[in-house]
């Protein structure tokens, strides 16, 4: 019984901490929507962040997308060839890439690269008083640092997803062309016949959601970091873990919604 009594305060503290954290996160998101609509809009900084997030991620995204396309094609081929259905490879790959793998792979890479970078950058600014310096020079640091980065990730992830889809399909085409001697025209005709308008729309909307999640989580963790350099490291790390966790949850939810729409 004494043991139960000892455990209760610890459990209670953890529950308190969880709900305090949740309330703080919601208030952060609420503040984002409040600030995003009010001028000044910091367009120059949004463009700068879009460049950083978009262009600087291209090499990694290109390599990953290309490899995913080739590997997925090569892994799927033996199963399809058992049924003599290797001609379905372009259709299978296009559905897998556009509906799930493109957005998911891009978002996970972006969470690792950009989420940690945003968390560490803002965290470091917080602990070295750069955010306070911005505030005392009559600049709204939330707008300049958070709103711009969240907008940039929200706009750029869908663009990167479309690019990843294209690169992955090109990788897949190379594999299909080398093994099944399928021309580029035939391959891409099959690719576009297999995907619907709903697939593209859901992919774009899902990517917007993933982008928003990566940006807001990175900024939240950085903006609320403390305890010096250790806190900065922790902010970067937890930004990646939390963003990846939320991306999987969102993927699952979006899948259920899209499937429900498909059945209507």
């Amino acid at each position: 019984m004494a043991g139960d009594a000892d455990r209760k305060p610890v459990l209670s503290k953890k529950i308190d901490k969880f709900f305090t954290g949740l309330a703080s996160a919601f208030s952060f998101v609420k503040r984002f929507f409040k600030e995003v609509l009010v001028p000044p809009y910091e367009l120059k900084e949004v463009v700068h962040q879009c460049y950083r997030i978009g262009v600087e991620s291209l090499p990694l995204i290109s390599l990953t997308g290309f490899i995913v396309g080739i590997v997925f094609t090569n892994q799927s081929r033996p199963s399809l060839s058992e049924f003599g259905a290797t001609s379905w490879l372009p259709s299978l790959i296009s559905i897998a890439v556009v509906r799930a793998m493109g957005p998911l792979v891009t978002a996970l890479i972006a969470a690792g690269k950009m989420g940690s970078s945003i968390g560490a950058e803002i965290g470091s600014m917080k602990v070295t008083e750069q955010i306070d310096a911005m505030e005392v020079s009559a600049t709204n640091p939330f707008k300049f640092l958070v709103v711009t980065r969240v907008l940039a990730t929200t706009f750029m992830i869908p663009v990167l997803v479309m690019y990843t889809d294209f690169v992955a399909l090109m990788g897949s085409f190379l594999s299909v062309n080398a093994n099944e001697m399928v021309s580029m025209t035939t391959f891409f005709v099959q690719v576009f016949e297999s995907i619907s308008f709903l697939d593209i729309i859901s992919s774009v909307l899902k990517s917007l959601l993933f982008g928003f999640t990566i940006g807001i989580v990175g900024c939240y963790k950085g903006y609320n970091s403390s305890k010096g350099t250790e806190g900065v490291g922790r902010a970067a790390n937890s930004a990646v873990v939390m963003a990846m966790f939320l991306i999987f949850i969102e993927e699952l939810l979006v899948l259920q919604i899209v499937n429900a729409i498909r059945m209507m």
Binding site: E121, S124, M125, T128, E129, Q130, D132, A133, M134, E135, V136, S137, A138, T139
Partner: protein, 250 residues
């Protein structure tokens, strides 16, 4: 009657169970350099952060240039902040920007209709006055601690503040650089007609830069006056012992 630019009355601030400021009274007069001395964690920085609205007091009044800071709305607070220059302990230069971009940042956001030439001229003048004209295109990571402090001061001066707040201006610097920074603080007052509060626990800095000294101990000012008055005629033993860098806790 001298004009008061800052009036603090009965200011209290706690963090959780820790009472940092326990009813502080202090005035800053126009054109004076006031030094606030106290050991680490005594609430010196808290005091000036309340002054610019980075923190909010629990009780009491903080009037800056005739305005009660805690009651100001965002727009009015930002307008007041433009009249106050805050030099941070670690300089707080934006490390992703060059020195030029650091100095441009507050200027282009708060002063409209400036041409590129006017901005450059203003930056060059200020860098000249802090003795670092060659640093304009350097990144903060390429500067020494003393250079960062100077650039930090130059950045705050770009908006022509009426009040300067220096948070531990000589912390972590060698004695020669400390003296350079002390001289810069005196020079800023003379050149830009500012009133200043210097937060420090460095007695040399206090003696060189301050017209008056205020010693903050246990959340209250135990002595206020000229350097000699405070330390030669101190009634509180801890204030006296401060002179030898030797605190006696009660």
């Amino acid at each position: 009657m001298e004009e008061k630019v800052v009036e603090i009355e009965g200011l209290k601030k706690s963090f959780g169970d820790l009472d940092v400021l326990k009813g502080v009274d202090l005035d800053l007069y126009k054109g004076e350099n006031l030094v606030v001395l106290g050991k680490s964690g005594s609430g010196k920085s808290v005091l000036i952060k309340i002054m610019v609205g980075l923190l909010r007091q629990d009780e009491g009044s903080m009037r800056v240039l005739g305005q009660e800071v805690s009651t100001l709305k965002t727009k009015a607070l930002n307008e007041l902040r433009l009249k106050i220059g805050f030099s941070f302990q670690n300089s707080a230069l934006y490390d992703s920007m060059t020195v030029r971009e650091n100095m441009e940042f507050p200027l282009v956001r708060n002063v409209k209709n400036l041409t590129r030439g006017e901005i450059t001229k203003k930056i060059e003048e200020l860098l000249d006055s802090v003795g670092l004209p060659q640093s304009i295109n350097q990144m903060p990571s390429e500067l020494s601690g003393g250079q960062k402090k100077r650039i930090g001061v130059a950045r705050t001066l770009i908006l022509n503040p009426e009040i300067m707040l220096y948070d531990e201006p000589t912390a972590g610097l060698d004695p020669i650089t400390c003296m350079d920074i002390n001289n810069l603080i005196v020079q800023v007052r003379e050149q830009y007609n500012t009133s200043s509060i210097v937060i420090t626990h460095d007695l040399t800095c206090a003696k060189v830069t301050g017209d008056r000294q205020a010693v903050l101990l246990d959340g209250q000012f135990k002595a206020i006056g000229s350097f000699d008055d405070v330390f030669a005629h101190a009634k509180d033993g801890r204030v006296k012992s401060f002179y030898d860098y030797n605190f006696i806790d009660s």
